[in-house]
Amino acid sequence: MSTNKKEKSTLKQPEKQIKRRNFLKTGLQAAGFLSLASVAGYFGLKKPDFEHPAKNPYELGLDSIGKIAKEKFCDVSVSMLKIPFETSKALAVDKDDNIYVSGDKSILILTKEGNNITQFDTDITATALAISNINIIYAAFENHIATYTNSGELLKEWPSFKKESYITSLVINGSKIFIADAELEVVHEYDTDGTYHRSIGSKDKKQADSFILPSYFFDVALAPDNTLWAANTGKHKLVSFNSDGKLSTYWGETSAAVEDFCGCCNPSHFAIMHDGSFITAEKGIVRVKKYNSAGKFECAIAGPDHFETSSTGLEIAINSKNDILVLEPAVRKIHIFKI
């Protein structure tokens, strides 16, 4: 399409104009190239800096919360027993230190070394276990209680409580048995043969001796002096009752600090050692801690790093040698801490 004939004359401009235009032109060129160069420089010479990533201005420093300072740990030796259950609920030990675990609709009895003695099936998984001095197994199944021999045959089915009752813990005191009912938010006091005495914990939530239990975590235990202790998890307190069921003492503070209890329904479980000091287990921030008999924090036994983050319901039992048995259902293990 192009052709090659002589070119027609073009108009000539005065010198000045040309100069100016050339000047302008070069200037513009320079500018353009500079801008390009700077862009290129930015992309080409920009080194990805992973050392100092952008911080989140709204960071909520959670990582620090779970952490427990090294010096706050007591020196314990840890061992472990594996248990076969997908889901295990209750843990107990008898006077010969045999271990009773309920899970997967059965009750398993192990020697303290963890060897299988017997295992027998139940209609539903027992929600609480207690072993009498004559080795009778008291097992709670949500809203009723049954007793078995340690070889597994059923002795007696108690008449069930209120249908919606949910028993989370049992403790035997000689001829009496205390039954923690998380649904009714009271502790029933029965004779071991099944006759009802009284219910501890008033219905009126204004009262100091009322239990506030947002969820099914409600543990009871017996101190060496046979006073009944219960976990008022909604108030983050441990409360004790005298022999006629009146509130006597309590302790426990609310905060995320290691000395106190926080989150929902803590301490979810606890047990009392032979010297009267308390072992508490918490969920949310999963940790097991030791308090002296006056409720003063002594030391942490195991922190969140020791357990699955998701672990709830760390059942605790103390055997005759003051070993602390902690059932961690999530990993099918019983941790044994020796202090």
Partner: protein, 586 residues
């Protein structure tokens, strides 16, 4: 005339006014913005520090007061500055419009004639200028591109799968790096977490379920977790056949799939090979000749046609693939087909030919090594091939394969032989329980579901076992070659006589039974909620895995097959006697 000039004056002043306002406002806004970005009162650390002080120093009331004041002020500052920005924006818009309008009026020309026609360079001069300019600018861009690439390629890694150079190195060192890294990253979390949560040298259960790592799919249980699977195809007409490739060497092992790799093995009396295909294209990525392994016999022991020289299924953990042959050769190759390790486990004396498939658990390769002399269960380290544990088992030879039952952080291995069904701890190899209930020549592998183990064999019985105790027995129909599969509340199996049977897990009652024309050797598998069973003629019957017999479809690859299909999402892989088929939806 005067009138217009008056308007013009006005507009001029307006223009100046609005222009100045705009500049002022925008300056304010910029300052405001800069302040906000330098110190955002909301994210500022002042309050946090005060609160820390408060926590440390008991309960000082005035400190509390101070905090409250600071908090109030900061929030005020934050919101008011945001409000200012908004207001400023509106002001700018308003005056911007005013400015435009007024200037428009001011610069309005009386008449068009006043346009001056500026002199111009002639056409060609202009063009040549353009040309020069274009070339220079494009040239600079090119140069800059080169500079950038020169610098940047130092910083950026190459994950590209096309650029051969980078890829192999990468895939090798990642496997190493991961572990160091993940352990290094650990900090004070416990070892338990290192291998479960953070990446170690083996895949998570979730990943295993996303692939088809071994005979009968994840954990060898015969249940696949894939969806959108084909229901109808035809090997002859090529309907829904994505690709079809001839297989160089015969073998009855079923394909295994991980990511885009598909592995099969083939062998005859003298040569043994492992093949890796690109499962999408069907391209043969590599074929590895398995030879000069110390202790390997020159000629493979005699085998029957029903077993062949390569009946044992391979398994892969995504990084490496493992294969075992009738010679007792076991080899581990990486995804590029390079040998990682290999050994001979001692030539098995087996009158049909060794045919148990491989399984793996975490970093252990599980081998059921039964022959006429002894039965062993062996675990080798997947990375090194070094023996981790070895358990001698009572009983006699079998041809079945182990299955893995994951139990949280641990797992159980369930194995058949004559006459026992036994359960072993995958970590230690310790026997958990053992039940004697089988007889005959054990072909079928166990099945597992709802906490129960289901085993059966011809001339024996079907047994359901829960933690070592027999729950029920059934003698009505019995599988002989193919393995049962437990799914939902049912157990399905097929026989070499063409029976397909569904049994109730609860009580062992036969829920339904259907007789097909041809017998089954390949094991039926559950995929996408349906039962896929290939008969000896290569016809796959797809049956709904439910309490009624519902035939969803029957399709043939048009060639004999005694294998079990492998699955990937939307795809299905069948090994015929001669060809490998990829079936999908075209």
């Amino acid at each position: 005339m005067i009138d217009t000039s008056g308007i013009k004056k006005l507009s001029k002043y307006l223009a100046i006014l609005s222009a100045s306002i705009i500049t002022i406002v925008s300056i304010f806004m910029i300052v405001n913005y800069v302040q906000l970005s330098i110190h955002n009162p909301i994210t500022g650390s002042t309050i946090d520090n005060l609160v820390k002080k408060l926590d440390s120093s008991g309960n000082e009331q005035e400190l509390r007061e101070q905090i409250r004041v600071v908090d109030l002020l900061s929030r005020k500052a934050y919101f008011s500055s945001l409000w200012q920005l908004k207001a400023g924006a509106w002001i700018l818009v308003g005056f911007g419009m005013l400015l435009i309008v007024s200037i428009k009026i001011y610069t309005q020309k009386e008449s068009i004639e006043s346009v001056l026609i500026k002199k111009q360079d002639s056409f060609w001069i202009v063009k040549s200028k353009e040309r020069k300019m274009m070339i220079t600018s494009v040239g600079t861009i090119a140069v800059l591109a080169i500079i950038i690439s020169f610098f940047s390629n130092k910083y950026y890694d190459n994950f590209n799968t096309v650029n051969k150079k980078g890829s192999t190195i990468l895939s090798l060192n990642t496997s190493e790096n991961n572990q160091e890294a993940s352990t290094a990253l650990q900090g004070d979390t416990t070892v338990k977490k290192v291998d479960s949560v953070l990446v170690a040298d083996f895949p998570t259960d979730a990943e295993i379920k996303q692939n088809h790592p071994s005979f009968r799919g994840p954990f060898g249980q015969g249940i696949n977790f894939k969806t959108r699977l084909p229901i109808s195809w035809d090997g002859v007409s090529g309907k829904n056949i994505m690709w079809k490739k001839p297989i160089a060497l015969p073998g009855l092992n079923s394909p295994v799939v991980w990511g885009n790799n598909l592995f099969i093995a083939g062998a005859n009396a003298t040569t043994r090979k492992v093949f890796c295909y690109d499962r999408l294209t069907g391209k043969l990525k590599w074929a590895k000749d398995i030879k000069n392994i110390p202790g390997s016999p020159s000629v493979s022991p005699k085998v029957s046609n029903d077993a062949g020289y390569s009946a044992s299924g391979l398994c892969t953990d995504g990084k490496r693939v493992y294969a075992i042959f009738t010679t007792g050769d076991i080899i581990c190759l990486d995804n590029e087909g390079k040998q990682v390790w290999a050994k001979n486990l001692g030539v098995p004396s087996n009158h049909y030919g060794y045919s148990s498939s491989l399984q793996f658990y975490k970093d252990k390769l599980i081998i059921q090594y039964d022959d006429s002399k002894s039965c062993k269960l062996i675990a080798l380290s997947t990375r090194t091939g070094i023996e981790v544990w070895k358990t001698k088992r009572e009983g006699q030879i079998s041809w079945s394969s182990p299955i893995i039952v994951p139990k949280g952080n641990s797992a159980e291995i369930i194995v058949n032989n004559l006459p026992y069904v036994a359960c072993y701890n995958a970590e230690t190899g310790k026997e958990k329980w053992k039940t004697s209930c089988l007889s005959g020549e054990i072909g079928p592998s166990p099945a597992y579901g709802n906490g129960m183990v289901f085993v059966a064999n011809e001339y024996a019985k079907m047994v359901a076992i829960k933690s070592g105790k027999v729950v029920w027995e059934n003698f009505e129909y019995l599988p002989d070659v193919s393995s049962p599969v437990a799914y939902k509340d049912f157990v399905f199996f097929t026989t070499s006589y063409g029976d397909m049977v569904c049994i109730n897990q609860k009580d062992g009652a036969v829920l339904w039974h259907h007789e097909f024309d041809n017998g089954f050797y390949g094991s039926p598998v559950i995929a996408d909620g349906k039962l896929y069973a290939i008969d000896r003629t290569g016809t796959t019957s797809i049956v709904e895995a439910g309490k009624e017999f519902k035939l969803k479809g029957q399709s043939s690859i048009g060639e004999k097959s005694d294998c079990t299909p492998a699955f990937a999402n939307g795809m299905m892989y069948i090994r015929g006697y001669k060809n490998l088929y990829c079936i999908g939806k075209k």
